[in-house]
């Protein structure tokens, strides 16, 4: 990472700490914002958060590793989360998943080579009455079929 980038990241984290406070209870909101901005929380970001909150970097890493929506290695700029739980599964999740995989040429769990899209499975999204459902970044899509799912993906490509 370039020195300039590092400085900028430190500044960003300082702003977040002003916003949420220097308490331990601010850790997750701070990490969530970094995640949102950079699509992952780098080693350097983890160290800076730890330093500025006065906790051990291992603590920060341990929290990140616990939560499905926080990650310490880079992901695509857009994250697609398709529900894999039973109601969506029975409503045709598999066909939707295969269609998306074919279209993007990657499997679930992978990121496109241009870093645009990461495909992931998620557990029940609370849309079971209108499944199959998926969340793309912060938007929820439901009543999916293969064609509809692919056209949604193509819009963010």
């Amino acid at each position: 990472m370039l020195v300039m980038e590092k400085n900028q990241l430190t500044e960003e984290i300082e702003v977040l700490i002003k916003k949420y406070g220097k308490e331990r209870s601010s850790l997750i909101p701070i990490l969530q914002d970094i995640q949102k901005q950079h699509s992952y929380i780098s080693d350097y970001a983890q160290q800076e958060v730890a330093r500025l909150l006065d906790i051990h970097p291992v603590e920060v890493f341990s929290v990140i590793s616990f939560y499905a929506f926080l990650n310490s290695s880079p992901k695509g700029r857009n994250i697609v989360r398709l529900c894999q739980t039973i109601t969506c599964d029975l409503a045709g999740k598999k066909n939707v998943a295969s269609a998306i995989e074919r279209e993007l040429g990657i499997k679930f769990g992978q990121t496109t080579p241009d870093n645009k899209i990461t495909l992931e499975y998620a557990n029940c999204l609370g849309m079971c009455d209108v499944g199959p459902a998926m969340i793309v970044n912060d938007r929820v899509y439901y009543k999916l079929d293969p064609e509809k799912a692919v056209s949604i993906i193509n819009e963010i490509r």
Partner: protein, 399 residues
């Protein structure tokens, strides 16, 4: 916007802010009395009496206390809190203000699951409106010294954080690992302060009880399960969705309402609940019979029960926080067992061992996740043994 929902209790008319304004003439004892009369039990699954929880938190000695709304709604097949959060904000937030008043808290926190982050803006906007109308903030509704405000915190994709002590850990900035109890949150909750954690629907029920009284609430439902319940109905039926029905409704009645035909099995209470066969469709949905936080998943004759078991066990293997051995290892072993059933490579001796393991997990696990994660496995094995052991794939497995 959909057409207006109708229901006897929760979906009955309510004018935003009116229960808060009513607090001007009510003491905290008055509210605790009505709650006790109502016999309201928590709607998040565990069914703990709300009046007792609030009484304990009110009695706990501390200048600082917290009201936490559990909007983590992660139980597979549950989406009724989503509907409340989208369409009935007044019921939820007014209920939280009432809780603050009753237990003596100045801060409320909504723990909203990360998957529902798309609701955040509209909820924040609604809270702003409440502040403008003096329904939040200082001297609320003109009542001297009654201050309360609500903030929203997002989850980050962990089912176990719906468990109240894991939720508190998460709020405090830690891994969402359940705590040993006691101490209970009513004494030692968020940041070590007395805290009442309640489900979204519980707060919504309280708001109606404050308006119409505990006696009115008891007119609905059964003797032990008063009031009505929101059921999230999904799966093989023509009219899935959220329905408000009185406790005591039978499974068959509910299937008819949802337009389910050819039903083989009903999963009551989500992945952590139990799977019932046709012969038990006359059972009542109530705390004293088939209890549920509201999740009802319908499976028709075409569905493969082993596939369903497999999906539930995969869920628990992923979502176990890994802190205690019965749950961490137990769920993985049960999943392995399901794979054996699927391939036909099993012995009855081993399957019986797994049943024992499932029962051990129910008593030896540290939190509700591990205590309930074998329910689906055990009940499907018990209630659908014909399909699993005989009919499947020509019927000569395991002999």
């Amino acid at each position: 916007m959909e057409e207006k929902r109708k229901g006897a209790v929760l979906f009955s008319d309510y004018e935003r802010g009116s229960a808060i304004k009513k607090l001007r003439d009510l003491s905290r004892e008055d509210i605790l009395f009505e709650l006790k009369e109502s016999k309201l039990k928590g709607r998040g699954g565990a069914g703990f009496p709300t009046s007792t929880k609030w009484m304990l938190t009110a009695a706990a000695k501390s200048d600082i206390k917290y009201v936490v709304c559990n909007a983590d709604e992660g139980e597979p097949g549950t989406f009724k809190d989503r509907v409340l959060l989208m369409e009935y904000q007044a019921l939820i937030f007014d209920g939280m203000v009432i809780a603050g008043y009753t237990i003596g808290a100045k801060n409320g926190i909504v723990y909203l699951r990360g998957e529902y982050s798309y609701l955040l803006d509209s909820l924040e906007t609604y809270l702003m409106k409440m502040r403008e109308d003096n329904l939040l903030g200082k001297n609320i509704a003109g009542k001297e010294g009654f201050d309360f405000d609500i903030s929203i915190r997002l989850g980050s994709g962990a089912y176990v954080c719906g468990e109240e002590t894991a939720l508190i850990e998460s709020l405090e900035g830690h891994r969402g690992e359940a705590r040993n109890r006691p101490p209970y949150p009513v004494n030692t909750g968020y940041l070590g302060k007395p805290t009442t954690v309640n489900n979204v629907e519980t707060f919504a029920s309280v708001t109606h009880i404050v308006m119409k009284g505990g006696e009115w609430f008891c007119k609905h439902g059964t003797d032990k399960s008063t009031g009505s319940k929101l059921f999230s109905i999904s799966g093989d039926c023509s009219r899935p969705g959220v329905y408000e029905l009185p406790w005591g409704t039978t499974i068959q009645e509910l299937l008819d309402i949802a337009g389910a035909e050819n039903t083989k099995a009903v999963q009551v209470g989500g992945a952590s609940g139990i799977c019932l066969p046709k012969s038990q469709f006359d059972r009542k949905l109530a705390y004293e019979d088939a209890a549920t936080g509201g999740s009802i998943m319908i499976f028709n004759e075409e569905r493969d029960m082993i596939h369903i078991m497999n999906n539930f066990m995969e869920f628990f293997v992923e979502e176990s926080c890994g802190q205690c051995t019965p749950c961490r290892i137990g769920n993985a072993k049960l999943l392995e067992g399901v794979k054996m059933l699927e391939s036909g490579e099993y012995t009855f001796k081993y399957i019986n061992k797994l049943k024992e393991l499932g029962q051990t997990m129910q008593v030896a696990s540290k939190c509700g996740l591990g205590q309930s994660s074998s329910n689906a496995f055990l009940s499907i094995l018990e209630n659908f043994k014909d399909e699993i052991f005989n009919v499947r794939k020509g019927g000569n497995h395991g002999n």
